[in-house]
Amino acid sequence: MSFLTIENLSAFVGPAPILRDVSLTVTAGEVRGLVGESGAGKSMIGKAVLGTLPPAVRVASGRIVLEGEDLLAMRPRDRRRVIGARAALIPQDPLTALNPSRRVGPQITNRLVDILGWTRHDAQVRALELLDEVHIPEPERVMRAYPHELSGGMRQRILIASAFAAEPRLIIADEPTTALDVTVQKQILRLIREMQARHGTALLFVTHDLGVVSKICQSLTVLYGGKVLEDTRVGDFFAGPTHPYSAALLAATPKYTDPDASLTPVPEAVIDGVRAEIEAFDRMHGHV
């Protein structure tokens, strides 16, 4: 059963298309990777779902349906409530995603208290539970700490705890390990997978790293220039991608088994092929 459906979503900055007729679904409890290089529009899809697109971005057409609620058709206020209650974001950079002038505790509990109407005490108990779940020692002390007193890895754990606080049905993780140390990356990835499995939350995992996709996702969507090139199961993808760009991307991914092998870039010819495909699409839709 699919509970997040994106249908034919197109978005523009000025006259330039940044999302081209994007459709994808996420079923309950599924982990879907959104893969592409920078500028492919993968983060924009996450932002479109959460309603945090930059003001310059104009959604021209399409629907985003979360559990039967047509998000783009709702009044902003109602939409915020639906998102706040049913979805959550694990942001990219834990160093900038916590408010520096507020203690950690309220930043975890505020959604529960202000948006979902929990009592302060219940929210506090819940936050302590969650900090324990994300393996933070001395949760009481951490709740009273300011963000600058904690390491990047700790802050990302807090943000993960905060994302799971209201038991959302969908979490969007926007390159949640990119800003972290390599050693910490693995732990955080493992933690996200562990939390996802325990809570049965669907996860839309935005990343440029196919290695990460192979570890955590069940399905993936490959994007280039805001256009979906391939939408498949992870097993099928690693067995043999259908789109030439996906195949080149896979070939360009460094192998953990052979770290000394030289890196192969995506060949020019493949990029040219994808660009031609996008131009043909734009011509067909009159975006030129």
Binding site: N99, S101, I115
Partner: protein, 336 residues
């Protein structure tokens, strides 16, 4: 560095600053042309009279000698005697100080309210015509100095539509039952709102004239830092939690965006206090600034010294308060 050490260090710097100000003002006003003795004597007074008066006020000694005598007096709380009024400088200055403090603080409050409201509105309506209008108004407010705003206000609320008192601090006909010179403050404590209203009516134009340029600076800087803060990840994250624009601006962005503005307010507040000199003159407001102009016109050297030292003291105290507030609001500084 602990808070106590920081304060002690600042107090030491303050003492050095005040000493420097004392030296400069003392020597400068004795070197510039103009002589208090000449202004006190009737025409045709002889050399002997001049020498006698000079000796009376200690002006027959060398300037360094005079400085040492004056400084040792100051350290014992004696700022000398005003030449024109023949009253102790300290008493004169302290009797006028409350009027100037009340005016400056009122102007500051008005500036913070207007500037803050404009910044918040401009952020809330960013990218719209409202924001454009606020920017234009800021530019206009900034390009006109406070005393010209004073004249504009006099024309508006004194001549065209005379609703506010145009000069003085309080209506002379009123009977003031006060034991301090903090009239505004005391009128509230004594629940004498009739006097309070009269005081506010007198302070309205001078405080607004002082406040307008500062309000524009606050609006501009605070709006700028609010807009930058609004793009930060923790603000985006708060939006995804379900918070609306107003909450996000006032609770998430404002506490962080306000810090640079706070420093600026501290610096600009000292300029505002400097502005009281001319504004008080313009509105015949009986404060320290008005007294300072009289003292300069009359070459009342001890009084000028006393007033300048007091102004310098106010400036350094304001800066200290700003620093401490800054540390209190910014958790990173508190622990670092």
């Amino acid at each position: 560095m602990t808070l106590i050490r920081r304060i002690l260090l600042r107090l030491l710097t303050m003492a050095i600053t005040l000493f420097g100000v004392a030296v400069i003002v003392f020597f400068v006003i004795r070197v510039v042309p103009g002589n208090p003795i000449a202004m006190m004597l009737p025409p045709g007074a002889g050399e002997e009279d001049i020498a006698r008066l000079k000796a009376l006020y200690g002006l027959d000694k060398t300037i360094p000698e005079q400085f040492v005598i004056w400084l040792s007096g100051v350290l014992h709380g004696d700022f000398g005697t005003s030449i024109t009024t023949r009253q102790p400088v300290l008493g004169l200055v302290l009797s006028r100080l409350p009027a100037t403090i009340e005016l400056s603080v009122m102007a500051l409050v008005v500036a913070v309210i207007i500037g803050g409201a404009l910044a918040l509105t401009g952020t809330r309506r960013r990218g719209t015509r409202t924001e454009g209008a606020i920017d234009v108004a800021n530019g206009m407010a900034l390009s006109v100095p406070d005393f010209l705003w004073g004249l504009v206000l006099i024309l508006l609320f004194g001549v065209l539509w005379p609703v506010f008192h145009i000069s003085g601090r309080v209506s002379p006909a009123l009977d003031l039952p006060f034991s301090t010179n903090f009239y505004l403050f005391e009128s509230v404590l004594r629940l004498r709102f009739d006097i309070w209203a009269d005081l506010v009516s007198h302070m309205f134009m001078p405080s607004l004239a002082l406040a307008i340029p500062l309000a524009a600076i606050i609006a501009q800087l605070l709006k700028q830092s609010l807009k930058e803060t609004m793009n930060l990840d923790y603000v985006t994250l708060a939006r995804t939690k379900g918070y609306g624009e107003n909450h996000v601006i006032t609770r998430e962005a404002l506490p962080n965006a306000v810090l640079p503005t706070l420093t600026l307010i501290g610096v600009q507040f000292t300029f505002l206090i400097g502005g009281t000199v001319i504004i008080e003159r313009l509105f015949s407001y009986e404060g320290l600034g008005n007294m300072a102009i009289d003292a300069v016109i009359n070459r009342d050297l001890p009084l000028i010294q006393g007033i300048v030292i007091l102004f310098a003291l106010i400036f350094t105290v304001v800066n200290l308060v700003v620093d401490l507030t800054y540390a209190a609001l910014n958790p990173r500084l508190r622990h670092g």
